[in-house]
Amino acid sequence: EAGVAQSPRYKIIEKRQSVAFWCNPISGHATLYWYQQILGQGPKLLIQFQNNGVVDDSQLPKDRFSAERLKGVDSTLKIQPAKLEDSAVYLCASSLVPTTGLINEQYFGPGTRLTVT
């Protein structure tokens, strides 16, 4: 079974530039998550999709971050314009649709390491 795919693996941009990350979840996983993991910290959930609908985006800085999952499969996360504090690893994860009251095991991709200079 193929895992969660992410690209690019590394990206270096200057502040105020734009950047986009791509994620392809495990086949059949309706739930997709984007996380930001700053060095030395735990992953912070940015947005959660179920199929092509947003379940939770309460921690997404909407003035500069956007995400979409138009066909309910792969997803794109965009930052525009980037700030120095956006330097982090951006992780995508997917899971089966949660059972009521629970969340399922999340499968993480390798992440995209973003450096903003």
Binding site: Q48, A93, L102, I103
Partner: protein, 110 residues
């Protein structure tokens, strides 16, 4: 907002010693998951705890969920160098609200 505290931040042990990391919440959890992240890697799911007082074992790893469902622990018996990494809890508060702890970084000296 709801946050989960994880301690300690770092733990350095000699191979063969035991290791424990704790997650604590001020409010009741729906369930909790544990993940391991190797250096340079991505988080990998270890286990999920759902019931009050639940205890689960995986070889040398023992996971516990508190009676009040506000805390959890991961204990590793007789650590090995392959246990090196950062261990995260992910606390689920229901209604699709969950938060990862800050992690405990384990270093094992051979």
């Amino acid at each position: 907002g709801q946050q989960v505290m994880q301690i300690p931040q770092y733990q350095h042990v000699q191979e063969g010693e035991d290791f424990t990391t704790y997650c604590n919440s001020s409010t009741t959890l729906s369930n909790i998951q544990w993940y391991k992240q190797r250096p340079g890697g991505h988080p990998v799911f270890l286990i999920q705890l759902v019931k009050s007082g639940e205890v689960k074992k995986q070889k040398r790893l023992t996971f516990q969920f508190g009676e009040a469902k506000k805390n959890s622990s991961l204990h590793i018996t007789a650590t090995q160098t392959t246990d090196v990494g950062t261990y995260f809890c992910a606390a689920h508060y229901g209604f699709n609200k969950f938060y990862f702890g800050s992690g405990t970084k384990l270093n094992v000296k051979p």
